[in-house]
């Protein structure tokens, strides 16, 4: 143990004397701290703004005066996806997916206003978050510090005397690993700060701990790669070149190539395309605005016989409201079928990308990080599903009021003149059918479960590298 600490301390002395290593450490520290503050400020601001919009939307809906219930169905409502507290670490797909949805009857609108659309276009690495710094650039620092760990001793011919003195190669490598490990621990300080901040804002401690652990594992993995190459190679320049190439392939090229490949293997048709296919099916369901359409013949016959009535005017309920209820229900079933199929296709594409985690640990780490931070595709889908639930509930609530609280005669005569138009309305108390909506990512436990496959990938990567390192230690030659 004493030897390990001595070796680690010696390595630190070397780094501090080397201006390059010191510069690297400083740059990374500044980068992490600045990015953390900037991202935390930006995301917190976004949270506040969206929360405000959400509250304003609800107040406006409830403040609407008495009117025809179907007017409220089309007046509609807005929901906003409020980023979870850990989005300050990894804002994930938040910027590239629409953050607000307009909810109304008979339609599932898409999420609008992705921030990225209004952003300044300065290359695709310009969108820095702490997560991206950890994923992409922290490995570079580990490479710069770690490439020389063993090969330096070899180049300056100090490795042979060290080993000749009876120092076991395992202890030597453990000492070097301890030095690099201490750098990793230092680098994890900002993420601990961010997790604590998120916890103060209501995030479960578990998510913060696991996401910190994820990055610890991911960075440990890069440290192990650096140490391994350093143990196997004869020249510092060559060690650095190899590690740099590995970084280029694993961190920069592979994730994006995975995107290209996933797009070809599992293509996802756009919304317009599925909407057009949907339009054909929707013709069969019928238009709920046209109560005379043949699609409602059965409904009419059933209602008439149920209430023993001759004409729809004699029904105790407003037939137009019943049609609205009935057609919304059938339509929503169809809409949800399409929406679920679309989400399944998107998940399938995401899964292809995720499976590249076996080839590039960055994909595994970033997938886990997005899931744990509640900013992954699944969270966006959760938002879409919750938005649909609230849409269906308030639309049907209004349709029920339409069926029971508005007389059929007033309803069909509403277009005769301005007075008749004013008569066809119900009390604003009915607008209370709208539920309060505050979006939250899935509970921490659920997110952890979803992230598990990626954590397993990382753990296996790490175990494999440690095994390789142990093997290399056994055959360490000066």
């Amino acid at each position: 143990m004493r030897h390990i600490l001595t070796i680690a301390a010696d390595e630190w002395r070397f780094w501090i004397r080397s201006r390059l290593a010191l510069a690297g450490l400083l740059v990374m520290a500044v980068l992490l701290v600045v990015t953390s503050f900037v991202t935390a400020a930006r995301v917190s601001h976004e949270r506040d703004v969206r929360l405000e919009h959400q509250q304003a939307a609800e107040e406006r809906f409830l403040a609407q005066p008495d009117r025809h219930p179907h007017r409220m169905v089309h007046y509609g409502h807005y929901v906003h996806r409020i980023p979870g507290p850990l989005a300050i670490l990894d804002s994930g797909v938040d910027r590239v997916t629409g953050q607000s949805i307009f909810l109304e009857g008979h339609r599932q609108n898409s999420a609008m206003f992705a921030e990225a659309r209004g952003g300044a276009s300065l290359g695709r690495l310009a969108d820095l978050t702490p997560a991206l710094v950890y994923q992409l650039f922290a490995p570079l620092l580990l490479i710069v510090l770690g490439h020389s760990l063993i090969v330096r001793e070899r180049e300056s011919a100090t490795l042979a005397p060290l080993l000749a003195q009876g120092l076991s190669p395992g202890v030597l490598i453990a000492g070097k690993a301890a030095a690099l490990g201490s750098v990793i621990l230092l680098m994890l300080l900002p993420i601990c700060g961010l997790s604590a901040f998120a916890a103060a804002q209501g995030e479960a401690l578990l998510s913060g701990l696991v996401v910190t652990g994820t990055y610890a594992l991911y960075l440990g993995l890069w440290g192990a790669v650096a140490l391994l190459v350093s143990a196997l190679v004869n020249q510092r320049g060559m060690a650095l070149g190899i590690l740099f190439a590995v970084w280029l392939l694993a961190a920069i090229i592979m994730p994006r190539a995975a995107v290209n490949i996933a797009g070809m293997v599992e293509p996802v048709p756009g919304k317009i395309e599925t909407d057009l296919a949907l339009a054909i099916d929707m013709r069969d369901v019928g238009d709920g605005h046209d109560a005379g359409a043949s699609a409602y013949d059965t409904l009419r016959a059933n209602l008439l016989s149920e209430h023993n009535a001759e004409r729809i005017e004699d029904l105790p309920v407003n037939f137009r409201g019943m049609v609205a209820l009935y057609s919304e229900e059938r339509l929503t079933r169809l809409l949800n079928e399409y929406a679920e199929a679309q989400m399944a296709r998107e998940q399938a594409q995401a899964q292809v990308i995720g499976s590249f985690g076996w080839a590039s640990p960055l994909i595994a780490a970033s997938s886990a990080s997005r899931i744990l931070s509640g900013t992954d595709l699944g969270t966006h889908h959760r938002f879409l599903r919750e938005a649909e639930t609230i849409r269906y509930e308030f639309v049907q609530g209004l349709n029920r009021a339409h069926a029971h609280d508005l007389s059929y005669t007033d309803d069909i005569n509403r277009n005769r003149d301005v007075e008749a138009f004013d008569r066809a309305r119900i009390s604003a108390g009915n607008w209370q059918v709208l539920d309060r909506f505050r979006f939250h990512p899935a509970p921490a436990g659920e997110r952890l479960l979803q992230a598990t496959p990626f954590l397993v990938m990382l753990a296996l990567w790490f175990a494999g590298l440690v095994a390789a390192l142990a093997y290399a230690a056994g055959r360490l030659r000066p």
Partner: protein
């Protein structure tokens, strides 16, 4: 020693350098991969447009056949608008991955429709794909660094450095030629797949030449920078670290801080506000006195004042008038949103001169028509088309003409961005 023999000699040396050959093949492979997948993507996008046009026409015809008046026709007939990928789009997908390049619009208030997103897969937009622009802007500098960082040090290690320097006519001559040959080979590996792709896609000669020149200049910049750092006679590991730092600075830090600064300095209205204002106005339309709506409408369309009496509880011309008034109310916010995006883009363009990789990417995107300006031009073409729709329907709605399937054949068709530009030019 003439130029040709020394060039050939260096090329021979290069072919014997295993590491360099690995880098060159990797560069060739990635460039080819980006071009092949890029072409596959733009072809898929073109096919999507073909399919959508067909489905859109069928859907519109089915809707129009069911109608009995012009108001219903305008309500139920959607129109596809789209921005087809240019011949060079395969090389730089750019904003096409972020902003929507297709919409379906109808006669209702446009502000409620034009911001509808038909997005790509979020992971695609987030991680970004490997297109040629990414290769040229972000990977090419790394390849240059990997090919050049070890030039002098390798000779030093081999013990030939002093000899080479002493026998050369000028101190830097052998290094200059060696670096030049390496950059030239790298440029060939990167550009050959691009050129083949561009020819297959029938891009214009000017655009290809512009893109090629930009890539060469970008490579030259990184070559000169690496050679300059290399001349400081440091160990190769230090050169590589310093250059990785330079890449980090120019490809990531400058653009990232630029982005934060631009977005702070030039705010754009929140999308939610545009939608809220528009919706409130359209919905108030139902409750507002009919005369108030018509008055606001007639300010823009005085030609219909003789037809603007609303007598029934519901009339289509009143309905569409308050849709238009909704757009008028949101007009200022919406203009601010577009203008803000314009300004942000102009500021980003200035800042990109400090960050060659960002400049490289922006150049290719602008040649390929996939930049922010192209997105805004497309959105403008959607606005123009929507205005044409209104110009078509208003006379029929206000004069209360009879609806017929024959008369509806005159409906304007979306002619794309270029059609829009020409008609804008014709207006001037």
């Amino acid at each position: 020693m003439n130029f040709k023999t020394s060039f050939l000699r260096e090329a021979w040396f290069l072919s014997k350098d295993r590491a360099a050959m690995i880098w060159l093949s990797l560069a060739l492979l990635i460039s080819a991969f980006s071009v092949v997948t890029g072409i596959a993507e733009v072809r898929a996008q073109r096919q999507t447009i073909e399919r959508l046009l067909e489905a859109d026409r069928a859907d519109r015809e089915a809707s129009l056949a069911d109608q009995s008046d012009w108001g219903g026709a305008a309500y139920y007939a959607f129109h596809l608008t789209y921005d087809p990928p240019s011949e060079l789009a395969f090389a730089a997908l750019g904003q096409r991955d972020v902003a929507s390049w297709k919409h379906r619009v109808r006669m209702l208030a446009l502000e409620g429709q034009i911001h509808e997103a038909d997005p790509q897969h979020p992971d695609v937009a987030l991680i970004g794909r490997v297109d040629f622009a990414f290769v040229a802007a972000f990977l090419a500098p790394l390849f240059v660094i990997l090919m050049l960082y070890d030039l002098r040090a390798a000779e030093r290690t081999a013990g030939r450095y002093e000899l080479l320097s002493a026998t050369a006519r000028r101190d830097a001559a052998p290094w200059r030629m060696r670096a030049g040959v390496r950059i030239a080979c790298l440029a060939a590996c990167l550009l050959i797949p691009f050129l083949i792709g561009a020819v297959l896609e029938q891009a214009s000669g000017m655009a290809i030449a512009g893109a090629g020149l930009a890539v060469l200049l970008h490579l030259a910049f990184w070559g000169l920078l690496t050679s300059f750092v290399g001349r400081l006679a440091m160990p190769s590991a230090t050169i590589l670290t310093a250059m990785a730092g330079a890449w980090l600075l120019l490809a990531v830090l400058v653009p990232a801080s630029g982005r934060v600064l631009v977005e702070r300095a030039i705010p754009v209205p929140a999308g939610a506000d545009i939608m809220m204002v528009q919706r409130e106005s359209v919905n108030d339309g139902w409750d507002r006195p009919r005369e108030a709506t018509m008055k606001a409408f007639l300010e823009r369309h005085p030609e219909w004042s003789a037809y603007s009496q609303i007598e029934q509880g519901f009339e289509w011309k009143w309905y569409y008038a308050f849709q238009q008034v909704g757009d008028q109310t949101a007009e200022d916010l919406s203009r601010d949103y577009d203008e803000g995006r314009h300004q942000r883009d102009r500021a980003a363009s200035l800042i990109s001169w400090l960050a060659p990789p960002a400049l490289m990417e922006r150049t290719l995107q602008s040649l390929a028509g996939t930049d922010v300006a192209a997105t805004l031009a497309y959105e403008q073409s959607v606005r123009n088309f929507h205005a044409e729709l209104r110009a078509f329907y208003y006379p029929r709605l206000f004069r209360e003409e009879d609806y017929s399937l024959d008369a509806v054949r005159g409906l304007p068709a979306f002619e794309g961005k270029h059609g829009a530009n020409e008609s804008a030019a014709a207006d001037l």
